[in-house]
């Protein structure tokens, strides 16, 4: 019998990645894996260095001539300023506990998205420039030289980190990878490498108080527009007050919710709740943004943008501040606000005007989260609710990374949801609460050009949503973050079609029975309530 060649000779294809060391793989920029750079006008307005037109796909990034010194000096300055940064650079033993915890790694498989390796991109330079062993042993000690490709690599991978801090949860040393990313982004900003999706909202915020650059009259117009929609649905005219001095409470929420679908329905939910309660509160067209893209730029920018909250509270003379459904807004408030802009000794510890509950957990910042406020109302039987109005929704809950890991807000949103919907199902344990998976759009990565990579990073979240969709028929993903409300709909569309996204207070707005309301036949999106489907068609 003739001898046949072995199969490996018949099909000679090698699909595997060449096993070169990660240090030798140059960064590759392709449409979909990076965000567009900051526009020169915006950089100039913000007073940031090296404004110019450039693209990550160009060979020449037009860095300043002395870019190496700038970065090395900036590195040294930050190591001296932040003890935590120095410890994070030194203490990692590369145990690998974080390696498979990042959503971008889990979905995409790029080793440089392992948090340990992403941090190593920075750490290798630290070793080379700031440690004796690195200076002498070089590569043997895990050190490398600062070359232009290193800067490119930083730009690629530190803008592929959403600062969600899931990896930090698993680190035995508690290394906060988000803070490593923040440092890397600050260093990049020193030589003019940053992204427009972060800088333009920051510039807008600096000027008008919100990311979108909405001016006061336009903001008020939009509120009135939403009030009209509320009247159409409920028959009740709500009268929100704006910029009113002497109100008891200032309410601050992300501006994304006043115009973007589906955030507007959450916004309407707030308006309905406040009308129902008849509390003495005001919105502000200046503190018209909860979000703070300074967090993703630099500590000085974050501090500046955050300052308007207390500033406006002082100007209006309120007693305390209530905050809406936002993610990173609460990280800034909970972790940095007091240090940066406190103490707010002109404010009082939040006390619910309806139940009298004093919220001691908010005694430091004097800012209370809306789900804590609403959960307390429900607990004290202060809300008349008809959960059946939400019977078309089988709901699960996505913990926003920032509220879950950044402030430990886990129970209140769930308590509220369970009281306003008839059917609620949790996703699996390792996909919720502290272990929640990011939507892929945090830290300023919720832009359109980054969609492909965001969907890649959205796989772990989408996979868990698909599971509850398939096992329980879940069709609604509730969340308490404006960026989630923007990024989760496309994520679900790709990984778990048929699942919609809503804010928690949209569900509250649907269920809340207002005094003098008309017979409700539709929800806030003007879709028919259960049992009224036929009337819609007439």
């Amino acid at each position: 019998m003739a001898k046949y060649p072995p199969p490996e000779e018949l099909i000679k294809i090698n699909y595997s990645t060449p096993p070169t060391s990660w240090m030798d793989v140059p960064p590759e920029f392709k449409p979909g894996n990076f965000s567009y750079p900051g526009k020169p006008d915006i950089l100039k307005y913000l007073g940031l260095p090296n404004p110019r037109v450039w693209s990550p796909t160009d060979d020449d990034w037009k860095l300043p001539e002395n870019w190496k010194e700038i970065i090395t000096e900036g590195f040294r300055e930050r190591l001296e300023k932040y003890r935590s940064f120095k410890i994070f650079m030194d203490v990692c033993v590369r145990c690998g506990a974080c390696a498979d915890k990042c959503h971008f790694f889990i979905g995409g498989g790029d080793p440089k998205n392992m948090p340990v390796l992403r941090a190593e991109l920075l750490r290798s330079i630290y070793r080379g420039d700031f440690t004796m062993a690195g200076k002498i042993l070089g590569r043997l000690a895990g050190a490398r030289k600062l070359e232009i490709d290193v800067v490119k690599e930083w730009f690629l991978y530190f803008y592929q980190c959403t600062e969600c801090r899931r990896c930090s949860l698993f680190c035995p040393y508690g290394i906060d990878t988000a803070e490593i990313t923040m440092m890397a982004r600050e260093l990049l900003t020193l030589v003019g490498c940053n992204i427009n999706w972060i800088l333009e909202p920051a510039a807008n915020c600096n000027r008008t108080g919100n990311h979108l650059g909405i001016q006061p009259h336009a903001y008020k117009d939009m509120m009135e527009f939403l009030a009209e929609d509320i009247e159409t649905v409920t028959g009740v005219k709500v009268n929100p007050s704006v910029n009113r001095k002497g109100a008891e409470i200032l309410f601050i929420t992300p501006s994304g919710d006043i115009f973007a679908d589906p955030g507007i329905y959450t916004y309407m939910g707030y308006m309905i709740l406040f009308e129902y309660l008849g509390i003495d509160y005001t919105w502000s067209t200046y503190a018209s943004e909860g979000g703070n893209f300074g967090l993703f730029t630099s500590d000085t920018m974050m501090k500046k943008l955050n300052a308007k909250m207390y500033h406006e509270a002082k100007r209006l003379g309120v007693k305390w501040i209530l905050g809406g459904e936002c993610g990173h807004m609460w990280r800034v408030i909970n972790q940095y606000m007091l240090t940066m802009n406190g103490p707010a000794d002109f404010l009082e510890t939040p006390v619910s005007p309806i139940t009298g509950t004093k919220f001691d957990a908010a005694a430091g910042t004097k800012m209370l989260h809306i789900t804590e406020f609403t959960a307390d109302l429900i607990k004290n039987n202060k809300l008349k609710l008809d959960p059946y109005r939400n019977a078309n929704f089988k709901v699960t809950y996505h913990d926003s990374c920032n509220t879950a890991r950044g402030m430990g807000l886990l129970e209140e949103p769930r308590y509220v949801i369970k009281n306003v919907v008839p059917e609620f199902y949790e996703m699996p344990d390792n996909a919720i609460r502290e272990q929640t998976f990011c939507c892929g759009g945090g830290a300023g990565l919720n832009n359109e050009e980054f969609t492909e990579t965001r969907l890649r990073g959205g796989l772990p979240r989408g996979n868990a949503v698909k599971y509850v969709r398939d096992t329980h028929g879940v069709n609604t993903l509730a969340c308490i973050c404006a960026i989630d409300r923007a990024t989760l709909p496309p994520l679900c569309n790709y990984w778990a079609p048929g699942v919609g996204v809503c804010g928690v207070h949209e569900l509250v707005g649907n269920a809340l029975i207002l005094d003098g309301e008309k017979k409700r036949t539709m929800d806030l999106r003007q879709n028919p309530l259960p049992g009224f489907e036929d009337e819609e068609e007439e």
């Binding site: 018949l10 498979d100 979905g107 990579t453 890649r456 569309n493």
Partner: protein, 179 residues
């Protein structure tokens, strides 16, 4: 059960294991190690989806020797292609995993095929895998089209309401409900 199905059936589990391993080898070695190790379906959705999809494909291949159809195979192949369509691959690399099934079959069945002259069966099996390749191409394109549609939708939801509010675009919705 027809001829090539019986060929496949006798070593289905070995082929599955080999196919999975070859497919993971299309990722960086550091990644492949972790993805082989982690068995939890929520901690490691890629490996879970690949195993589920591959098992489904092989089960259907054993069940019938008919020319594969999208109606039967698309749900299984989608588990894999949908993931690879948004990973860092060229289109060819993304769908190449299906040809690794050929390699897995040859690796696993070669002894039996060459010793017993079962080439016709192997050819038939490989022809069916070629058809799976075409189905993969369709799924890949659908996924990419969806990605682009998602990008367009995002722009629309970002700006349409603002333009309407600003009165910059006309609105054909009736002012009041028609009586």
């Amino acid at each position: 059960m027809t001829v090539s199905s019986s060929l496949l059936a006798q070593k289905k589990d070995d082929i599955l294991a080999r196919w999975f391993e070859l497919t993971l080898a299309t990722y960086a070695p550091e990644t492949a190690v972790l993805w082989k190790k982690q068995k939890d379906r929520f901690a490691n959705p890629v490996a879970y989806r690949f195993k589920t999809g591959m098992t489904g494909v092989l089960d259907e291949m054993v069940k019938s020797s008919e020319t594969p159809t999208a109606a039967v195979f698309e749900p299984h192949l989608d588990e894999i292609v949908r993931v690879r369509a948004v990973q860092d691959f060229t289109p060819a690399q993304a769908v190449a995993f299906i040809y690794l099934l050929k390699q897995a079959c040859r690796d696993t069945l070669w002894k039996d095929v060459s010793e017993n002259g079962r080439f016709t069966e192997l050819f038939e099996l490989e022809s069916r895998i070629d058809v799976l390749g075409l189905i993969c191409l369709d799924i890949y394109c659908k996924c990419r089209e969806k990605l682009f549609q998602i990008r367009i939708d995002q722009i629309n939801t970002q700006y349409s309401r603002l333009l309407k509010r600003a009165g910059l675009v006309c609105d054909f919705a009736p002012e009041a409900p028609e009586s």
